[in-house]
């Protein structure tokens, strides 16, 4: 094989998605990424390839990826890949990239994806952009995105329309600003993408049948592996389904003085609104008052419920990044100048401990 050079960018083509599986099951993020990558592949006029690693029999899942838009699935089956280890997975992913030279490689930003992505990018000598919330290749599509989602005056800005670098957008500087990142000199252009941000398309059985499956025997020397997985434990704690909830009532700094009462009120309000989940701002999680799995925002989860209620949350971009696409936003805060009121559909200025009981009463009285 000729020498692999990440700077020989003209040698790279096709859009790839690394598809994560746990316990032999595909993750929802896989379908979100494939659906979005389909659009990128169409913009670029190239092929969409899913890369699936796992233990024996994992290839049985491949067709399903086709149903969401993958043209081809490369399956690497090996007992050493049944459970994720950084060593074996990074070896196989890098081997595949060096062999097939994809132009783009997307990975879900799960705890596993964020372990694998940077390791591979460093070995492949290329850039990686973390936790992206939006991706474009075609410049027209990007300019259109900027026009709708930024304060940039696109009519008076010059863009090189022929630019085909993937434009990767993410919240930056602790989430106070948005930034679009490019990786112009090296390939593949790599990004991890936040779960729950991109929309999964409809499953199409015809596409699933048409998908090409390529089985590759990975080259893993098990004797040379240093990392040993002793056990995997699923914690029986209450599963917080923030991403799938129709109603999310989140609490922030304003709730800190009496967290237990605030949690109770938030849950009651969610129930009054038809039932939902209690979320949290980053501040309460950092202060140890709320569990990290309830955090909404750039470093937490991205939600788009039918109703989002922000109680005592100031609403920095970091938080907005996780909830701004909610269908309806209601904010309660003591300070009328907080940024949360800039994006709320309905605002109530007041002390959440006093206002929320009134909200619950009023809503219940309407039923």
């Amino acid at each position: 094989m000729a020498e692999y050079k990440s700077s020989a960018i003209e040698e790279f083509s096709n859009i790839w998605v690394f598809c994560e599986q746990r316990d032999g099951k595909l993750m929802n993020t896989d379908f979100e990424l494939i659906s979005e990558a389909r659009k990128l592949a169409d913009q670029r006029g190239s092929k969409l390839v899913a890369l699936l690693l796992g233990g024996e029999g994992i290839g049985d899942l491949a067709k399903e990826l086709g149903g969401y838009g993958a043209d081809q699935v490369i399956v690497c089956e090996d007992p050493a890949l049944a459970v994720y280890t950084n060593e074996a997975y990074s070896k196989v992913v890098c081997d595949m990239v060096m062999k097939y030279k994809p132009e783009v490689l997307l990975i879900g930003a799960s705890n596993i994806g964020r372990d694998l992505g940077p390791r591979c990018a460093a070995r492949l000598h290329t850039g990686l952009t973390a936790d992206c919330t939006h991706l474009d290749i075609d410049m027209n599509t990007y300019v259109d995105f900027l026009d709708k989602n930024s304060n940039v005056d696109v009519k008076n800005t010059e863009f090189k329309m022929e630019d085909v670098n993937m434009k990767m957008t993410r919240p930056a500087f602790g989430g106070h600003l948005m930034a679009t990142i490019i990786c112009p000199r090296f390939r593949p252009c790599m990004a991890t993408v936040r779960p729950g941000v991109l929309k999964k398309e409809e499953y199409d059985q015809t596409k699933a049948e048409a998908c090409e499956i390529t089985i590759v025997k990975p080259n893993i020397d098990t004797a040379a592996l240093h990392e040993k997985v002793l056990e995997i434990v699923k914690e029986a704690k209450e599963v917080v389904d923030l991403i799938g909830a129709d109603v999310v009532v989140s609490i922030g700094n304003g709730a800190a003085k009496d967290i237990e009462t605030a949690k109770k009120l938030a849950l009651e309000l969610a129930d009054a609104l038809g039932g939902g989940v209690v979320g949290s701002s980053r501040a309460l999680v950092d202060a140890g008052l709320m569990d990290a799995d309830r955090q909404v925002g750039q470093t937490g989860k991205t939600v788009h419920p039918k109703v989002y209620v922000a109680l005592g949350i100031s609403g920095a971009i970091q938080h907005q990044a996780g909830m701004q696409n909610s269908e309806l936003i209601i904010a309660v805060n003591k300070n009328e100048n907080e940024p949360i009121f800039e994006i709320a559909d309905y605002g109530l200025v007041g002390d959440l401990f006093k206002v929320v009981p009134e909200m619950i009463n009023a809503i219940n009285s309407m039923k």
Binding site: N86, M178, L348, K354, A362
Partner: protein, 266 residues
């Protein structure tokens, strides 16, 4: 045994954020703190040191002002501090940063019994990339998201957090582990610590000291060399302000409930 702890000084983004006219963050106007996850890494190193003989070396890359933070880490209990600082390094992305830090650690020497600890991610970038990339450059095994670290001889058994539980992983030193806040409760500096900090060595490694280091590729460091570049930075558009209800708490609540009923939300 040497334990390297990689640390970053970050602007405190949890409070008020100062913004430049061009929309970028004004770091000079914001209080600088030690990145929270890095304090958990430092605490883990100090706990390991309490059990057996070890030298804890705090390593950071940053402007000369980060020297103050290094003194704080010495006061917390680190034995030595190394600040990698040079204009050539400024503006580095994670790929560039990790090769500079890996180069510096290689320069300082890493032996079979040694360990590198990092925080999972820094609050100003939230990428969680530098730790794994340092491990890759040094060809060391990595474990990220550590919530428990148990050392027996040269073997580390690490609990690694997953979204729905954890996995328990065994690796041998030398290795790199990234730490999250569930791992421990970082200690504060002590009065004696503050006094003794001034006597401990604080070394500065600049571009000259590191430019011949084989792990550092001088053409891919700094703002211009980094593989990734900022193409555009922007603020989201200000969405038209919604409706603000007025009146007593009860009155506002009723107005809201009426709107929700009107929209068939309830």
């Amino acid at each position: 045994m040497k334990i390297y702890v990689c640390v970053k000084q970050v602007p405190d983004t949890s409070g008020v954020v100062a913004v430049n006219p061009d929309g970028t963050m004004n770091r000079a106007k914001m209080p600088a703190i030690i990145n929270p996850d890095d304090l958990n890494a430092m605490e883990a190193a100090l706990q390991l040191k309490e059990k057996e003989c070890a030298t804890v070396v705090a390593v950071s890359m940053g402007p000369p002002q980060a020297g103050e933070m290094m003194r704080e880490l010495l006061a917390m209990g680190a034995d030595e501090a190394v600040l990698i600082s040079g204009r050539e390094f400024g503006g580095s992305d994670t790929f560039a940063t990790s090769q500079i830090i890996a180069g510096a650690i290689h320069h300082l020497g890493i032996k079979e019994e040694d360990l590198i600890l990092c925080g999972r991610q820094a609050i100003d970038g939230d990428t969680a990339q530098v730790g794994p990339q340092i491990a890759e450059k040094l060809h060391l095994p990595q474990v990220t998201y550590a919530t428990e670290i148990i050392k027996e001889g040269n073997t580390y058994t690490v609990k690694r957090a997953l979204e729905d539980g954890y996995m328990s992983i065994q690796v041998k030193s030398p290795c790199l582990i990234t730490c999250i806040k569930e791992l421990n409760e970082p200690r504060y500096m002590t009065v004696e610590g503050v006094f003794s900090a001034d006597e401990k060595p604080l070394t500065v490694l600049d571009y000259e000291a590191l430019k011949d280091e084989p792990l550092i590729e001088t053409e891919t460091i700094g703002l211009n060399g980094s593989p990734t570049n900022i193409f555009k930075s922007f603020n989201p558009p200000v969405k038209g302000k919604g409706e603000m209800f007025v009146g007593s708490d009860k009155e506002m609540a009723m107005q809201l409930a009426e709107k929700l009923a009107e929209k068939h939300v309830i």
